[in-house]
Assembly symmetry: C2
Homo-oligomer: 129 residues x 2
């Protein structure tokens, strides 16, 4: 059986592909942070939703994220996921890589449900670029 | 003023340098995970303490970790730190890099004190090596 976080990330990727941002935003904590670009951050559900709408437009509504190799480091109600994140789109990004080694932090809420707290698809490329 | 997590990580590095593992272990959550090597994990305070004793011996009691460029992504009581971690020692490691781009996850406890939950000095190098 796949790890529940692997399944959860698949649901997130599906919501991005389908541009179902109202569903997507429920997968984030209230104070979540999304790294939009290495120097641009969205904080909280409203900013994250706006950022995903802009990202979708930028990629001409054709963005499809999938995950390759993945490692899940779990410590109680907190998990760090290191994942090869592949972005496909009709418009290819020229400045930023479409094949990333991402770092995602998840937290389990009081109902035992995982939520994304930190969404950083750039991984360690944020430093020493 | 430096971010409190930057100060906290300095204290961790100092405890490693001084081999004060009883102090060091208090900087971790009870269910913390340490990536000892890409395929070796220590879970919980006792295993982490044993791992640091072995690491110290391996480096002939001369290991000095310091941090270079650092980015702190905070989401409420959870933080992901991406940091250039430099390891110096009399015995240099040949198989694994001494200049790493690490990923550390910290959690704030009920007393508002940060603790390390996931200590992964290998960062995204855990995948696609």
């Amino acid at each position: 059986m796949e790890h529940e976080l692997k399944e959860f990330i698949k649901k997130c990727d599906m919501a991005i592909k389908e541009e179902d941002f109202d569903t997507l935003i429920n997968y984030y904590t209230d104070d979540a942070v999304l790294v939009v670009k290495p120097d641009m951050f969205a904080r909280g559900k409203e900013e994250i939703k706006s950022a995903f709408i802009s990202i979708a437009k930028y990629f001409k509504n054709s963005l499809v994220p999938t995950q390759g190799e993945m490692i899940i480091l779990e410590a109680g109600d907190t998990a760090l996921v290191i994942s090869q994140t592949l972005l496909a789109a009709d418009k290819m990004e020229s400045e930023l890589s479409m094949d990333r080694r991402a770092t995602y932090v998840f937290k389990k809420n009081s109902q035992g449900k995982w939520l994304c707290a930190i969404d950083n698809s750039y991984g360690t490329d944020l430093i020493n670029q």
